[in-house]
Amino acid sequence: MLDSVFFYFFAGVAILSAALMVTRSNAIHSGILLITTLLATAGIFLQLRADFLFIAQIILYAVGIMVLFLFALVRLRLHVSVGQIKFSRQKYVGSLVALALAFQVGILLWSSRQIPGDGLLIQGAAPAEKLPPNTQELSRILFSGYLLPFEVASVLLLVSMIGAVLMVRRRSASE
């Protein structure tokens, strides 16, 4: 009971602030609403007893990335220029992406209906109180079954980091 109350509260906050985020014209307001969405998602992680994901979400997304993002927004005075952009610029691409996403969610919902039980994709999931410690379990999975995707993702991050440094250096050298 309490679980579903928390879930619907956080889900409602997340959806509401996400919708507000894409409709605001002030970029700073959007940024703060995005933080709210990310924090509400962290709340859902906590409600699912995924404490490590919860704190990773807060440290990485809600603070680490968003503070830098807001930093850039405040610094660059983007709220002046972004406010002038009309919303209909990418109408067709946007609707295509939205349709594709709706299709995926539809497939997921349809396939979950095919499985008998209470609609979960995983059969016989353990109750939340009897789960093994979240952090240990996550690291065991990451470094055994999913080692290759994990390493590939970290190499991807490294490449993008080096790319960012290179771009900044080239720009400052040309100036």
């Binding site: 704190i55 440290i59 603070v63 503070v67």
Partner: protein, 398 residues
């Protein structure tokens, strides 16, 4: 602004700053203040002050929760700066947020070295690991502790690293506005307390008394009783020398409080040895928590005193200097130290090396190598800067 025309404020053009603008009662200011305070208060809930003196027990992510939630305060800083709308405050808030994030990354990396040693994130198990290895982690990774100490000074915008404002402004002008002025100090103190408790739990042995595994040092358990008894005696002596009855009363109340605290600690302490009497056996269960909380708070206080000492002993870094220190010296050192600790732990578990030997054998060469490389890149960068300067302003050009 007519009444304080000779204040430093007038030295800089900041036209939009009305007098007394540091206290704002708008809802957004309230939100910014609330975020900073809530982050500090929430993160304290997972700190273990004693073996069972913890608000949120058995939290799997433990100290990471404390650290991560205190991270949220950075949002409040930016929000506060943004709503203030005056150029000085916006800039100051951006500086302080940028410094906060940079140094929190270094603090996080140095905490990771401690987490590796403990093998857990749970704040209770971390202290128990230090009891198990019978050594505080500060002695196993002193580099990580020093990095954390420096980073925490900078992250709380203490004065060795930039106090987040330009030099020519009085400190009052560059803080983001707060809902209540006093709340700023509350937030400051609460943040310091959180940072000191993380260091205490991870590096300084948490609630353990110094050298808990040495039996002949058991007399250290009498320290709280002695401390409060001495304090009570000092207050008693001062009480006669006060000029006003009001002060006298105040000092007498302090004497009474210290004396009763000493009595309470003594009663709880000897309760274990006097079994049989009814209420003393009840007190016995209090003993680990009470003495644990005493040692924990004592360590936090000592950490804070070190903060103040360092702050007043060293000159202040400019913003650019402190950011440069963070990204090009502290960050590489923290990464190298983390790697060294990981290698040492691998040597210990795979090759069966002695933990001390492995740690000192990996940490020392890596640190020397890192410092040498940093110095080398520094000289090279300086040489390049001099070369480009010479190329631009050729002294023999004409």
């Amino acid at each position: 602004m007519s009444d304080n025309s000779d204040s430093p404020m007038d030295a800089v053009p900041s036209p939009n700053l009305p007098p007394g603008s540091r206290v704002s009662t708008s809802p957004t200011t309230f939100l910014a203040t609330a975020i900073i305070l809530a982050a500090a208060a929430l993160s304290l809930s997972a700190v273990a002050f004693g073996p069972s003196l913890q608000l949120v027990k058995n939290l799997n992510i433990g100290l990471l929760f404390v650290f991560g939630i205190s991270f949220l305060g950075g949002l409040g800083l930016i929000l506060g700066g943004w709503i203030s709308k005056t150029p000085d405050t916006v800039l100051a808030a951006l500086r302080s947020a940028a410094q906060f994030v940079s140094y929190q990354i270094i603090a996080g990396l140095s905490l990771l070295a401690g987490f590796l040693l403990a093998g857990t994130l749970n704040s209770r198990s971390i202290v128990e690991a230090q009891l198990h290895y019978s050594i505080w982690f500060i002695f196993l990774t002193p580099v990580a502790f020093l990095l954390y100490f420096a980073a925490s000074i900078a992250a709380t915008n203490r004065e060795v690293f930039d106090h987040s404002g330009p030099e020519f402004l009085v400190p009052q002008t560059f803080y983001p506005p707060f809902y209540r002025r006093s709340l700023r100090y509350v937030a400051d103190i609460a943040n310091n307390f959180v940072i000191a408790s993380v260091a205490t739990a991870l590096f300084l042995g948490g609630w353990l008394r110094p050298l808990p595994n040495v039996p002949w040092l058991g007399f250290l358990d009498a320290a709280p009783v002695l401390l409060f008894a001495i304090l009570a005696a000092l207050f008693l002596r001062r009480a006669g020398k006060q000029s006003k009855t009001q002060y006298k009363l105040r000092v007498r109340v302090s004497t009474f409080v210290c004396f009763s605290l000493a009595l309470f600690f003594a009663a709880v302490g000897i309760a274990g040895h006097l079994a049989g009497i009814f209420f003393l056996t009840q007190l016995k269960s209090l003993q680990p928590d009470l003495y644990g909380a005493f040692w924990f708070l004592a360590k936090v206080v000592i950490y804070q005193m070190l903060f103040t000492l360092v702050r007043s002993a060293l000159p202040r870094y400019r913003f650019a200097q402190s950011m440069r220190t963070a990204w090009s010296i502290f960050l590489p050192l923290a990464l190298v130290n983390l790697f060294a600790v990981a290698v040492a732990l691998a040597l210990e578990s795979e090759q069966g090396w002695n933990r001390w030997l492995a740690l000192s054998l990996t940490t020392l060469p890596m640190l020397f190598l890192a410092l040498y490389l940093l110095r080398w890149s520094d000289t090279r960068a300086r040489g390049a800067a001099v070369a480009s300067f010479l190329a631009e302003t050729d002294p023999y050009a004409g």
